[in-house]
């Protein structure tokens, strides 16, 4: 525990190394001749756009996938034998998608796959004991007997980390652990990781968030298109250089580029909205205005927007949409859609797209009425319509006959937006529009959102990505405990002001 901050590089011997790894899926090469070595006590950043092969490489390290070529060595010994062997060798992976079993308890989830047994029977006392120790180690308190399905998203993320820690790993791999966390939680997590590394753990940290990499990593490896671009000590690089390496071109993060906006009439108006985790919210969104909703995960932002548009049950309150001088009340989700509301949900894979259907069909879905004559869909009209929209959102490749499931996260999000563009929405509600999306696609999605607003659409954005929120929004409402804790606009809106409202005055972590 002695704070030895003076040796940030090469703190210990190499624990895990992968040499010349190649992995193909079907015809596509996901990882192409990549080598990486991580030392004990090191936090090793791994960055790259979506589809760069980060997750595949990590799954190979964790024994979930077998490489087509090359080998993984732990302490110089080749690793073969799948997940089990990797676990035994002390490799723990915290997944990007939550990999918990909702019906099992917190303790059982932490010990999943490693239940202590006596004669085949699980040893409940030992199980809870080890789980409790792991939770204590990461400093999170959770009811050990609660079903994980009833925990908040953030808690589940920490339970997952506790599971990795409980195995006393020598290598801890985290794949975008902060994607669902609020800044305060992120801050806590990063501090915790540094502490774990000081204890001699080798950590591989994958993130899209460049500042996090610079805050905790000792070295960083960049992947692009499945190939290794390079590994550099963090002090020898800059955020800009790193982004350039990731995208392979000169790229500027358009932070702080705010839009000139001249909002019009109020289009979306909510009064006294109450719902599960929402305790009375009044909210207006004007034509051509981008309203951001900030706050911690679990503060009730998603619940608020879903209740507003009728996607979830609203227990009280009135929400109206005004278009062409007529004001209509939203009583159900369908009435919301009928009156010009578009909704881009948080979970695009499970809620936004029919993955086994073509891009064209996904785009046609909300527009089916106008594409049909007497209830019969016109194929040529559908494909022309879908193609036009796919092109307008910059879908790559722009093949509308492919299944939506064949596209990467960023492109999938573009499809979701495209299908709503066809309706010329009066209001568009976007929940975490760029979560898990690579840098390039993120910029394009931001461009689309701005264009919509410029055309007079009322835009409501929920985001945990603070720079994104600040960059996009004309007005930011910060939600705390299901209520609006404060409203910020113009120069007063910055990271500090949003955070202090979100956390309830007393700012957590360092300034």
């Amino acid at each position: 525990m002695t704070a030895d901050q003076t040796t940030p590089e090469a703190p210990g011997p190499v624990v895990i190394e992968a040499e010349s790894i190649v992995k193909r899926f079907g015809g596509a090469t996901a990882v192409d001749d990549v080598s990486i070595a991580v030392r004990s006590g090191e936090i090793h950043g791994l960055v790259g756009e979506n589809g760069a092969g980060k997750s595949t490489l990590m799954r190979i390290l964790a024994g979930i996938l077998t490489p087509d070529q090359g080998e993984v060595r732990v302490d110089g010994r080749p690793l073969t034998g799948g997940t089990r062997a990797a676990l035994d060798a002390g490799i723990a992976l915290v997944h990007q998608e939550l990999s918990l079993v909702p019906e099992l308890t917190t303790a059982e989830n932490i010990m999943l796959g490693a239940f202590p047994t006596r004669l085949g029977f699980t040893n409940a006392r030992q199980l809870r004991g080890v789980a409790a120790t792991a939770l204590r180690e990461i400093g999170v308190s959770v009811d050990l007997d609660e079903r994980v399905g009833r925990l908040s998203v953030a808690l589940r993320q920490f339970v997952e980390i506790a599971r990795a820690v409980a195995r006393k790993p020598r290598v801890l791999i985290l794949d975008e652990p902060t994607a669902t966390l609020t800044p305060a939680e992120t801050d806590y997590l990063l501090t915790m990781l540094q502490r774990l590394a000081e204890g001699g753990l080798a950590i591989i940290y994958i993130s899209h968030r460049i500042p996090e990499i610079f805050r905790i990593c000792d070295r960083v490896t960049v992947l692009r298109d499945g190939q290794l671009i390079g590994t550099t000590p963090i002090r020898a690089t800059t955020p800009a250089a790193l982004v350039d390496q990731m995208v392979g071109r000169e790229y500027k993060l358009d932070l702080q580029i705010r839009r000139e906006s001249t909002p019009g009439e109020v289009v979306l108006a909510a009064r006294g909205v109450r719902a599960h985790r929402v305790h009375g919210v009044d909210l207006d969104v004007r034509a051509g205005e981008i309203v951001g909703l900030g706050g911690l995960v679990g503060a009730g932002r998603t619940e608020l927007v879903r209740a507003m548009i009728g996607a979830d049950i609203r227990t009280a309150g009135r929400v109206t949409v005004t278009a062409h001088g007529r004001t209509r009340s939203i009583s159900s989700y369908q009435s919301a859609v009928r009156n010009g509301v578009a909704y881009v949900p948080e979970e695009r894979r499970t809620d936004g797209l029919a993955l086994t259907m073509s891009v064209a069909e996904n785009i046609a879905l909300p527009n089916r009425r106008r594409l049909a004559t007497g209830g019969v869909l016109r194929r040529s009209r559908v494909s022309a319509f879908a193609q036009r929209l796919a092109d307008s959102v910059g879908l790559r490749p722009p093949d509308i006959r492919k299944d939506a499931g064949d596209y990467s996260g960023g492109n999938q999000q573009k499809i979701v937006i495209a299908k709503w563009l066809g309706r010329n929405p009066k209001v568009i509600v976007l929940d975490e529009p760029t979560r898990g999306v690579d840098v390039g696609a993120k910029a394009e999605i931001h461009r689309l959102i701005r264009e919509l607003a410029d055309q007079g659409t009322a835009v409501l954005v929920v985001s945990s990505d603070l720079p994104e929120l600040l960059e996009l929004s004309d007005v930011i409402h910060v939600i705390r405990d299901g209520r609006i804790a404060g409203t910020l606009s113009g120069p007063e809106a910055d990271e500090r002001s949003v955070m202090s409202l979100a956390a309830g005055g007393g700012m957590v972590g360092k300034a």
Binding site: R84, L100, G113, L151, L155, I313, A316, S329, S332
Partner: protein
């Protein structure tokens, strides 16, 4: 030194009543228990004989429930075994065809395990959805039962052994009920206390997670299907012993009754949710209704209308259904009035 910073992300339940409430809310058997309570109350009021003649009732429950218990193991993993009824028939025919009773039982039970293995092979190795694989096996095994039996009932060689088997052994408890209770206890312990059984929930609740955590998912699936096959074969053996002959058409109503028992008891067909106790509760409800109606001499068509009605009520009174109805009604009303009540 040891004071690590902590993060509070939600209430860690501490007080006793909250704990109890949380523990109760976790259970999945409420709907089944509600139905059972109603059935018991109703039966007590019009046909108390059901309970005074409890060995009969237990016998019927054991008949409906035994196969359902084995099936639950498979359903917990998010799979389905439609071949159980046919397995029951095949095992019965196999057993009755072998002159030596003990040998017959062993071979029949092995046949059940083998059938489970074959089902598992198609599901695990070939990668077919279990609904389809076992639907195919449903036909194959039913056909096999006819082929093996020459399309007619097969009498046991040793009828006396069968008759002795049907007699009560401990008080009024017949071996069938005893075996049912033992299987129930065994499976209950298996899925709550044994590591492999506990992991069934992981396989059904989040298969990828189970795999990533190093749980041998394939082996668990094989275990589950073999359990289901074994229990179905056991039911076939018991039926044959008790009837002193194997009927190749046996068990025609068993499949749907077992699935119904499991679902009434709160076992989710999507996997990962439910319990062995729930299935028992479901089987008890169905058994008591049936015996009660039979005892009071209700005609079979009217019985069917009752049972179907109760089943329909039980399945549409799921809390999720209520939420859906309440939601719909609320939206409808607020749509009408243009405003929702504060």
């Amino acid at each position: 030194m040891n004071s690590t910073p902590t993060l509070s992300l939600g209430p860690a339940t501490t007080d006793r009543s909250a704990r109890l409430r949380a523990a109760l809310a976790r259970r999945t058997e409420w709907r089944g228990l509600a139905l059972l309570a109603v059935v018991v109350v109703a039966t007590l009021s019009f046909e108390p004989l059901v309970f005074t003649a409890y060995p009969v009732t237990l016998g019927r429950v054991a008949l409906i429930g035994l196969v359902a218990l084995g099936l639950t193991a498979v359903i917990l993993m998010g799979e389905l075994d439609l071949s159980v009824a046919s397995t029951l028939a095949v095992a019965g025919v196999v057993m009755a065809s072998i002159p030596n009773v003990a040998l017959g039982i062993v071979v029949a039970l092995c046949a059940g395990l083998l059938i489970g293995l074959v089902n598992a092979f198609f599901v695990v190795k070939v990668g077919i959805n279990s609904f389809i694989a076992t639907l195919g096996m449903l036909f194959v095994l039913r056909g096999l039962a006819f082929v093996l039996s020459g399309e007619k009932p097969v009498r046991m060689a040793d009828i006396e052994a069968g008759i002795a088997f049907g007699a009560p052994i401990i008080g009024p408890i017949t071996p069938r009920v005893l075996i049912f209770v033992l299987v129930f206890i065994g499976l209950q312990i298996f899925v709550t206390k044994v590591r492999a059984g506990r992991e069934f929930y992981a396989v059904g609740g989040n298969r990828q997670a189970a795999r990533d955590a190093g749980i041998p998912v394939s082996r668990r699936l094989v275990t589950g299907f073999m359990l289901s096959g074994f229990v179905a074969a056991l039911a076939g053996v018991i039926n044959t012993m008790e009837r002193t002959a194997a009927d190749p058409t046996a068990g025609s109503t068993v499949l749907l009754a077992s699935i119904a028992a499991a679902i009434i008891g709160g076992v989710a067909l999507t996997g990962g949710r439910g319990s062995i106790v729930g299935t028992l509760v479901g089987a008890l409800s169905l058994g008591i209704i049936e015996v009660g109606l039979t005892l009071s001499g209700v005609q079979v068509d009217v019985q069917q209308i009752f049972i179907g009605g109760v089943l329909l009520l039980a399945v549409i009174t799921d809390p999720a259904s209520f939420r859906a109805v309440v939601g719909n009604a609320r939206s409808f009303l607020s749509g009408r009035r243009g405003e929702t009540p504060a």
